[in-house]
Symmetry: C2
Subunit: 200 residues, 2 copies
Amino acid sequence: MADYHIAPFDCLAEQFERLPGIGSKTAARLAYYMISVPQEEALQFADAIVDARRKLHYCRICCNLTDKDICSICADERRDKSVICVVEDIRDVIALEKTQEFYVSYHVLHGVISPMKGILPDMLRIKELLSRLKDGTVKEVVMATNATVEGEATAMYLSKLIKPLGIRVTRLAYGLPVGGDLEYADEVTLTRAIQGRSEL
Amino acid sequence: MADYHIAPFDCLAEQFERLPGIGSKTAARLAYYMISVPQEEALQFADAIVDARRKLHYCRICCNLTDKDICSICADERRDKSVICVVEDIRDVIALEKTQEFYVSYHVLHGVISPMKGILPDMLRIKELLSRLKDGTVKEVVMATNATVEGEATAMYLSKLIKPLGIRVTRLAYGLPVGGDLEYADEVTLTRAIQGRSEL
């Protein structure tokens, strides 16, 4: 006699287990939760998934996620269209927008170049970025890819493509996180903080 | 200008945030994952929820989760029907079944008595349990509620109801977890392990 199994429950738990960072115990717990909430709430959850998938797509200009033809950032006339901030994914746009400091346009690559994982430049939204640079309105491209090896390499790759067009290419600053303790900072971050030191 | 929001995405993230143990950052990450997987996979996930809710209900006899009229444990003729193991929820059944040691019938209470949380005895499946004890086939009821204050209190409450019927009431043993280090065991567990010591 094997373990006790109920097909629809196992199937639901398996679906939860496919989510990133969810192990089999948590998946079973979430599936159980989904069974024990009122029917209506569970169906709302299912609807939210179907709804999100049906309505969301990528902005025609910046490849950001949107439920319209052009995302609200690209449609915003007050933004500085001469600066494009290049990010890896839409969560980075959300993070940068939270600063309420940077009213520019974005470009979402949807990944970084990573030959190890089989992600090559033509699998990212690089063509779309380059075509935005043709009409001469863009004066600066800010690389805001993650501070990882792949993020760095992607920024370098793009800068080599964009600089010949006579457009300024910059990178977000490296340094100590605000509120962070110096003694807990890693050597690489500290080295970058020293190199990038500024006049007081 | 506020944060960047896309209604269907926020709605999906909110649904994930309602799950137990999922915070807002994880919810956003899971919502983003759900947007980036192939359409088919996302719809499978939604279907699994709808399917589980439509097909699953409680077993007429033991209140365990099942997609049939009577769950496969109650339907199993080889099991010892003279012993009922009382548990808090269906995950406990699954855990006990994994031992492959205990071929008895179960009864799922769907909670424990907890006046603090407003859960009173008549909100649990206690009536159903008592009605199973009437015909005299049951000789022993094993309390397998969790080793918490509420679990203990519920076991005590049930034992006071069941003992007068001339049925043996037992409790799972307390003691050191197998493979556990004695020095890391808490005092209460150690005290119980000492009290419950057995001849070698």
